[in-house]
Amino acid sequence: MDGLVKFARDSLKPAAVAAIGSVQCSVVHRRGFASCWRGRLQTGRRWGFVGALAFGVACATMPHGATDANMSRARSGTAEGWALFKEHCARCHGERGESVSTAPRIMGDGALPEYPRERNMNADPASGDPELLRLRAQTRPAGAPWRDPFRTAQDLFGYVSKKMPMPAKNAGSLSVEQYWAIINFMVLAHGVQVPPEGINAGNASSVRLQARHP
């Protein structure tokens, strides 16, 4: 909730600036909204362009995925997991889990959210066919998100061992030990503290993935 409040506060800033600007235009400068804002926009266009460019560059260069420290810790912590991750996962998700394709980011800030992102239903070829959508809805419990929540390493294991590696023909093709090795690497690189003996079936339910986001 604190995050939501902070976000709402940050979001209100532009609105506040616009409101203050409008008041300045109409009261202080005694000018109409249109002429006043036209001048402001002409002045601001240059800075807007520069800002947009900077924003784009910042977005494009913003570091994603696991940090150097966590990557180092994960590589040394489970060499097998690192090797398996490179072989089976990094092609789409990137060696740091930063995503090098349309695959999601899976390590580092913002990755492995508890609940899945909302899917763009209009990107679904079934979106124009209500009956087809109704049939597809039967594949999940009513009201449930399209995948189960990632709360613990056990949840992550459950998903990865069923659905990965891609392509789908390879899903479930690794051994349980190999999946656990990958999970160990991912969780370490994600920045979550794991038990000294590593994550296994016995303790995976106690390793919380969201612990890094207080």
Partner: protein, 573 residues
């Protein structure tokens, strides 16, 4: 036997809990359990070392970022290591770009392609970089028989029970009546994809489809979509062609009993951006334009050929913005403006009526809360403004309760004398939940087991202004509730209640307008057969009982059916 309480929730819980217990014990008799034994991950589970007892586990090191480590004694003994149903899911989730095999459970293992390598199989795997052709779709056939009554002033000598097929009813039908299907063709890779859908919908008289182009086989959806790799925190998607775009539905995954409050269909495109504002917050932006172009018509088209042209061109601009927090809370604003241009020049000469252009605006606020395991709640307040909107024909595909365009919305909710001018406000709400998912929490119930699936929807609306005095400042509602008790992997029982209560004005034989409430309520019980817990197929046997007000069942020469029997089947592939 557990003690069952009187309330229905308790009864359902009592029915479900033994099933939960049975599933947790790993019943070897059920079909899924067999599959677990046979599947690869399950074997691996057997081969792996036994779980360590809790006492052997060292506590995690506590850091500032992680939660305090639990003492070893607090750690629960290990549970089964592999997923409870280790059958391989193949990206079959709703919204997925890939489909499971033909009529198979989504948990079914993927099948290899056919020999020769030219035709990928149903459920074939996708390489991220590969160009792949896919075939999918649906086949449905629902036939209803309504038990009618002998009409007044009927055929001389006519007596006995009259059967109607399709049934003669008013109000929401629990099934999509008639035969139909879609055949979806898809070709592309993860970056660019071409799609076309061949559809047929033949409600009632199946042979209509051969000469009625509007309900016969048609390609209504064909588009090209581009999804480039993410740019930093921004994901983009572009789509061009002829396709539907749906917004503001409060139901599960953006759909629901009463559908989207804004659906746009035409030739055009959309550009969508999803931007990560932070680890827990995402921004969604979309802009689109769609057009339904027509040509000037110098004479009225006859209906004998069922020309689809209406002489009304429409262009729709729509913009959307939304924000999500923790992927649990969603808020989106949808705005659309449709401009209709009346090209029926024959109106001038033949009917001495000047063609008029019309406009229609839609504003909706979509709010959604995914409160797992308690289900998801969606609420969408929506406002429609119509200005001579009888000239807005295409473009706006669906509005209030699957009603199309400005012309149909005007006729149904603003009145025939409104000329399509007025305003409507509505609130569409839906709550979906799974009782087993609640009862099994914190374990995640994935649908493979007994369950009670519930959807509750309510859609009140107000015609706050209308140029038709008989509809001005009136109100109405739609309601719906569906319950499906999944008894076994092959059998479910269903119960559905639907209702609507609308304002209706009719001219009597003397030309005087009579105003009343046209209400229809129905209850439907049914049996559903399916091939697996979550398979995308079903055979339905159902009985519905309809109740009408006198103003709804208003034609003694054509009395509505009260009893309706349905048999039908659907399969998605």
């Amino acid at each position: 036997m557990r003690h069952c309480h009187a309330s229905w929730i308790a009864v359902a819980a009592c029915l479900l809990v033994p099933a939960v217990a049975q599933a947790e014990q790993g019943s070897a008799e059920s079909e899924p359990a067999k599959a677990v034994v046979e599947s690869e991950p399950a074997k691996a589970v057997v081969e792996s070392e036994p779980a360590k007892p809790a006492a052997d586990i060292q506590p995690a090191k506590a850091t500032a970022e992680s939660e305090p480590a639990k003492p070893a004694a607090d750690i629960q003994p290990s549970k089964p290591q592999a997923p409870k149903t280790a059958r391989t899911a193949i990206d079959s989730l709703p919204g997925s770009s890939t489909n499971p095999g033909f009529s198979l459970s989504p948990e079914a293992p993927p099948k290899p392609p056919a020999p020769g390598g030219r035709a990928p199989s149903f459920g074939a795997p996708v390489d991220r970089d590969a160009w792949v052709f896919r075939l999918g779709g649906r086949i449905s056939g629902f036939e209803q028989v309504g038990v009618g009554r002998t009409p007044q002033d009927g055929i001389p000598g006519q007596s006995g029970t009259i059967l109607h097929t399709p049934a003669l009813t008013v109000g929401k039908m629990p099934f999509w009546a008639g035969a139909g299907g879609t055949l979806n063709f898809q070709y592309g890779n993860q970056t660019i994809m071409a799609f076309a859908s061949l559809e047929a919908s033949m409600a009632g008289q199946e042979y209509d489809g051969y000469y009625n182009s509007q309900i016969g086989p048609r390609i209504r959806t064909a588009y090209l979509a581009a999804t480039p790799a993410p740019i930093g925190d921004t994901r983009l998607r572009f789509q061009f062609g002829a396709f539907p775009a749906n917004y503001g539905a409060p139901g599960q995954w953006g759909w629901g009993i009463f559908g989207p409050v804004l659906a746009i269909h035409g030739y055009g495109g959309t550009a969508t951006a999803n931007l990560d504002l932070g680890p827990r917050t995402q921004l969604y932006l979309e802009y689109g334009v769609a057009a339904v172009p027509e040509v000037d018509e110098a004479f009225a088209r006859g209906t004998y050929t069922d020309w689809p042209e209406s002489g009304l061109s429409t262009i729709v601009n729509h913009v959307h913005a939304g924000i999500s927090f923790d992927n649990k809370y969603f808020a989106k604003v949808h705005l659309a403006q449709a401009n209709g241009r009346d090209l029926r020049r024959w109106l001038d000469s033949a009917m001495n009526v000047t063609p008029q252009d019309g406009h229609m605006q839609v504003a909706a606020l979509e709010l959604r809360w995914v409160n797992d395991p308690y289900g998801q709640l969606g609420v969408t307040p929506v406002y429609w403004n119509f200005d001579k909107a009888v000239s807005v024909h295409g473009g706006i595909w669906w509005g209030l309760d699957w009603t199309a365009g400005g012309r149909e919305m005007s006729r149904k909710f603003l009145g025939s004398q409104s000329n399509g001018t007025g305003q409507i406000v509505a609130v569409s709400a839906e709550y979906d939940f799974s009782l087993s998912r609640i009862l099994r929490y914190p374990d995640a119930f994935d649908g493979n087991g007994r369950d009670l699936r519930v959807a509750l929807a309510f859609l009140p609306f107000w015609t706050v202004a209308s140029a038709d005095a008989n509809y001005d400042n009136t109100k109405g509602y739609y309601l719906g509730a569906t319950f499906e008790y999944v008894l076994s992997s092959w059998l479910s029982t269903t119960f559905a209640v639907f209702g609507q209560n609308l304002n209706l004005a009719m001219a009597d034989v003397s030309g005087q307008w009579q105003r009343g409430r046209a209400a229809s309520h129905s209850g439907t019980v049914g049996l559903v057969l399916h091939s697996d817990w979550q398979s995308q197929d079903r055979i339905v046997l159902a009985y519905s009982r309809y109740f009408y007000t006198a103003f709804a069942d208003n034609n003694p020469a054509r009395p509505l059916d009260h009893d309706v029997f349905t048999i039908g089947a659907s399969v998605a592939f």
